[in-house]
Amino acid sequence: MAQHDVEIEILKSGEVKVHIKGAKGKSCLTYAKWLTELIGNVKDQQLTSEYYEPEVKARIDLEQNLKTEE
Protein backbone atom coordinates (compact mmCIF):
# COMPACT_ATOMS: atom_id res chain seq x y z
CA MET A 1 0.00 0.00 0.00
CA ALA A 2 1.15 3.52 -0.73
CA GLN A 3 1.11 6.27 1.85
CA HIS A 4 -0.26 9.58 0.65
CA ASP A 5 0.36 12.53 2.93
CA VAL A 6 -1.29 15.92 2.61
CA GLU A 7 -0.12 18.86 4.72
CA ILE A 8 -2.60 21.72 4.72
CA GLU A 9 -1.68 25.07 6.22
CA ILE A 10 -4.50 27.60 6.54
CA LEU A 11 -2.75 30.93 6.98
CA LYS A 12 -4.01 33.78 9.15
CA SER A 13 -4.99 35.59 5.95
CA GLY A 14 -7.17 32.66 4.89
CA GLU A 15 -4.79 31.64 2.12
CA VAL A 16 -4.05 27.93 2.01
CA LYS A 17 -0.73 26.17 1.40
CA VAL A 18 -0.93 22.51 0.51
CA HIS A 19 1.95 20.03 0.29
CA ILE A 20 1.05 16.71 -1.28
CA LYS A 21 3.57 13.96 -0.66
CA GLY A 22 3.89 10.34 -1.61
CA ALA A 23 1.34 10.29 -4.40
CA LYS A 24 3.00 9.15 -7.61
CA GLY A 25 2.11 10.03 -11.18
CA LYS A 26 -1.23 11.55 -11.92
CA SER A 27 -2.66 10.80 -8.48
CA CYS A 28 -0.67 13.76 -7.14
CA LEU A 29 -2.40 16.05 -9.58
CA THR A 30 -5.73 14.44 -8.69
CA TYR A 31 -5.22 15.55 -5.09
CA ALA A 32 -4.25 19.03 -6.29
CA LYS A 33 -7.38 19.28 -8.46
CA TRP A 34 -9.61 18.00 -5.65
CA LEU A 35 -8.28 20.57 -3.17
CA THR A 36 -8.44 23.39 -5.71
CA GLU A 37 -12.10 22.65 -6.40
CA LEU A 38 -12.76 22.47 -2.68
CA ILE A 39 -10.98 25.65 -1.61
CA GLY A 40 -10.66 28.13 -4.45
CA ASN A 41 -8.21 29.42 -7.02
CA VAL A 42 -4.59 28.42 -7.57
CA LYS A 43 -2.25 31.29 -6.76
CA ASP A 44 0.94 29.26 -7.17
CA GLN A 45 1.92 25.67 -7.81
CA GLN A 46 5.40 24.15 -7.65
CA LEU A 47 6.75 20.67 -8.09
CA THR A 48 9.21 19.94 -5.31
CA SER A 49 12.60 18.24 -5.65
CA GLU A 50 10.92 14.91 -4.91
CA TYR A 51 9.21 15.19 -8.27
CA TYR A 52 12.52 15.14 -10.12
CA GLU A 53 13.86 12.06 -8.35
CA PRO A 54 13.64 8.77 -10.26
CA GLU A 55 10.42 6.99 -9.53
CA VAL A 56 12.25 3.85 -8.35
CA LYS A 57 14.11 5.81 -5.66
CA ALA A 58 10.90 7.49 -4.60
CA ARG A 59 9.36 4.06 -4.23
CA ILE A 60 12.27 2.85 -2.10
CA ASP A 61 11.93 5.88 0.15
CA LEU A 62 8.25 5.21 0.48
CA GLU A 63 8.86 1.59 1.41
CA GLN A 64 11.42 2.67 4.00
CA ASN A 65 8.87 5.02 5.51
CA LEU A 66 6.36 2.23 5.70
CA LYS A 67 8.83 -0.07 7.42
CA THR A 68 9.77 2.64 9.89
CA GLU A 69 6.14 3.07 10.82
CA GLU A 70 5.62 -0.65 11.29
Partner: protein, 156 residues
Protein backbone atom coordinates in the same frame (compact mmCIF):
# COMPACT_ATOMS: atom_id res chain seq x y z
CA UNK B 1 5.96 12.87 -6.89
CA UNK B 2 5.26 15.88 -4.79
CA UNK B 3 3.76 19.27 -5.25
CA UNK B 4 3.15 22.44 -3.28
CA UNK B 5 0.05 24.49 -3.96
CA UNK B 6 -0.95 27.94 -2.76
CA UNK B 7 -4.70 28.50 -2.95
CA UNK B 8 -6.78 31.64 -2.58
CA UNK B 9 -10.08 30.68 -0.98
CA UNK B 10 -13.40 31.40 -2.64
CA UNK B 11 -16.38 31.49 -0.32
CA UNK B 12 -19.55 30.31 -2.01
CA UNK B 13 -21.98 29.28 0.63
CA UNK B 14 -25.39 29.49 2.18
CA UNK B 15 -26.07 31.90 5.03
CA UNK B 16 -26.14 29.17 7.73
CA UNK B 17 -22.61 28.06 6.79
CA UNK B 18 -21.42 31.68 6.83
CA UNK B 19 -23.07 32.09 10.23
CA UNK B 20 -21.11 29.12 11.61
CA UNK B 21 -17.83 30.61 10.38
CA UNK B 22 -18.79 34.03 11.78
CA UNK B 23 -19.43 32.42 15.17
CA UNK B 24 -16.02 30.73 15.06
CA UNK B 25 -14.24 33.94 14.08
CA UNK B 26 -16.14 35.93 16.71
CA UNK B 27 -15.16 33.47 19.40
CA UNK B 28 -11.50 33.52 18.34
CA UNK B 29 -11.39 37.33 18.41
CA UNK B 30 -13.40 37.78 21.61
CA UNK B 31 -16.44 39.31 19.92
CA UNK B 32 -19.96 38.89 21.26
CA UNK B 33 -22.82 37.97 18.97
CA UNK B 34 -25.36 40.52 20.07
CA UNK B 35 -28.46 40.68 17.93
CA UNK B 36 -29.91 40.63 14.44
CA UNK B 37 -30.36 43.74 12.36
CA UNK B 38 -34.10 43.81 12.85
CA UNK B 39 -33.63 44.37 16.57
CA UNK B 40 -30.86 46.84 15.94
CA UNK B 41 -32.96 48.90 13.53
CA UNK B 42 -35.59 49.29 16.18
CA UNK B 43 -33.19 51.41 18.20
CA UNK B 44 -32.96 55.13 17.60
CA UNK B 45 -29.48 55.99 16.47
CA UNK B 46 -29.06 59.67 17.11
CA UNK B 47 -25.31 59.89 17.28
CA UNK B 48 -23.16 59.65 14.16
CA UNK B 49 -20.40 57.05 14.24
CA UNK B 50 -17.41 56.39 12.02
CA UNK B 51 -18.16 53.49 9.73
CA UNK B 52 -16.05 51.38 7.34
CA UNK B 53 -17.15 48.57 5.07
CA UNK B 54 -14.91 45.71 3.89
CA UNK B 55 -16.06 43.30 1.22
CA UNK B 56 -14.91 39.71 0.83
CA UNK B 57 -14.32 40.00 -2.92
CA UNK B 58 -14.02 36.25 -3.46
CA UNK B 59 -17.35 35.44 -1.89
CA UNK B 60 -20.92 34.66 -2.82
CA UNK B 61 -23.59 34.22 -0.18
CA UNK B 62 -26.46 32.18 -1.52
CA UNK B 63 -29.85 33.77 -0.91
CA UNK B 64 -31.47 30.53 0.23
CA UNK B 65 -32.30 30.42 3.95
CA UNK B 66 -31.61 34.14 4.20
CA UNK B 67 -34.28 36.65 5.16
CA UNK B 68 -34.16 40.10 3.59
CA UNK B 69 -31.93 42.42 5.58
CA UNK B 70 -30.64 39.63 7.80
CA UNK B 71 -27.34 40.42 9.48
CA UNK B 72 -25.16 39.22 12.28
CA UNK B 73 -24.10 41.91 14.73
CA UNK B 74 -20.93 41.45 16.76
CA UNK B 75 -19.60 43.70 19.46
CA UNK B 76 -16.41 44.20 21.41
CA UNK B 77 -16.18 47.26 23.62
CA UNK B 78 -17.19 50.27 21.55
CA UNK B 79 -16.69 48.42 18.26
CA UNK B 80 -19.60 46.97 16.35
CA UNK B 81 -19.24 44.68 13.35
CA UNK B 82 -22.09 43.78 11.04
CA UNK B 83 -21.82 40.83 8.69
CA UNK B 84 -24.30 40.82 5.83
CA UNK B 85 -24.92 39.97 2.19
CA UNK B 86 -24.81 42.94 -0.17
CA UNK B 87 -26.95 43.51 -3.27
CA UNK B 88 -24.46 41.61 -5.43
CA UNK B 89 -24.53 38.62 -3.12
CA UNK B 90 -21.10 39.22 -1.61
CA UNK B 91 -20.31 38.92 2.05
CA UNK B 92 -19.62 42.31 3.60
CA UNK B 93 -18.30 43.31 7.02
CA UNK B 94 -19.14 46.79 8.28
CA UNK B 95 -17.22 48.15 11.28
CA UNK B 96 -18.22 51.17 13.31
CA UNK B 97 -17.51 52.66 16.67
CA UNK B 98 -17.01 55.92 18.50
CA UNK B 99 -13.50 57.14 19.07
CA UNK B 100 -11.94 55.13 16.25
CA UNK B 101 -10.48 56.39 12.99
CA UNK B 102 -11.43 54.98 9.61
CA UNK B 103 -8.03 53.31 9.39
CA UNK B 104 -8.52 51.58 12.75
CA UNK B 105 -12.00 50.41 11.81
CA UNK B 106 -10.78 49.16 8.45
CA UNK B 107 -8.00 47.20 10.15
CA UNK B 108 -10.51 45.65 12.58
CA UNK B 109 -12.89 44.72 9.75
CA UNK B 110 -10.06 43.22 7.70
CA UNK B 111 -8.78 41.24 10.66
CA UNK B 112 -12.27 39.84 11.13
CA UNK B 113 -12.73 38.98 7.44
CA UNK B 114 -9.41 37.11 7.51
CA UNK B 115 -10.43 35.14 10.59
CA UNK B 116 -13.85 34.50 9.06
CA UNK B 117 -12.19 33.16 5.91
CA UNK B 118 -9.81 30.99 7.94
CA UNK B 119 -12.69 29.52 9.97
CA UNK B 120 -14.76 28.92 6.85
CA UNK B 121 -11.91 27.14 5.07
CA UNK B 122 -11.07 25.09 8.17
CA UNK B 123 -14.68 23.89 8.57
CA UNK B 124 -14.97 23.04 4.90
CA UNK B 125 -11.63 21.24 4.69
CA UNK B 126 -12.23 19.19 7.86
CA UNK B 127 -15.69 18.11 6.70
CA UNK B 128 -14.27 17.02 3.35
CA UNK B 129 -11.33 15.17 4.92
CA UNK B 130 -13.71 13.19 7.13
CA UNK B 131 -15.90 12.38 4.14
CA UNK B 132 -12.89 11.10 2.22
CA UNK B 133 -11.79 9.07 5.25
CA UNK B 134 -8.39 10.66 5.74
CA UNK B 135 -6.52 9.85 8.93
CA UNK B 136 -5.64 13.02 10.85
CA UNK B 137 -1.97 12.66 11.81
CA UNK B 138 -1.56 16.05 13.43
CA UNK B 139 -3.35 19.34 13.80
CA UNK B 140 -2.01 22.45 15.49
CA UNK B 141 -2.36 26.20 15.67
CA UNK B 142 0.98 27.90 15.12
CA UNK B 143 2.31 31.06 16.78
CA UNK B 144 1.55 33.04 13.63
CA UNK B 145 -2.13 31.91 13.98
CA UNK B 146 -1.96 29.63 10.97
CA UNK B 147 -3.58 26.20 11.31
CA UNK B 148 -1.59 23.16 10.20
CA UNK B 149 -3.37 19.92 9.41
CA UNK B 150 -1.44 16.80 8.44
CA UNK B 151 -3.54 13.99 7.01
CA UNK B 152 -2.74 10.58 5.57
CA UNK B 153 -4.41 8.08 3.36
CA UNK B 154 -3.35 4.57 2.40
CA UNK B 155 -3.87 3.53 -1.20
CA UNK B 156 -3.69 0.08 -2.79
Amino acid sequence: MSTVLVLTPVIISSWPAITAAVAGAASALGLLVRETVKEANAQNQVEVEQSVEVELSQSEVLAENLATGQEIVLTKGSIELRVKRDERGRCVVCAKGFGHTDAELKQIAEEFTQKLTQCYVYDKVMRELKTKEFQIVNEEVMNDESIRIHVRRWMD
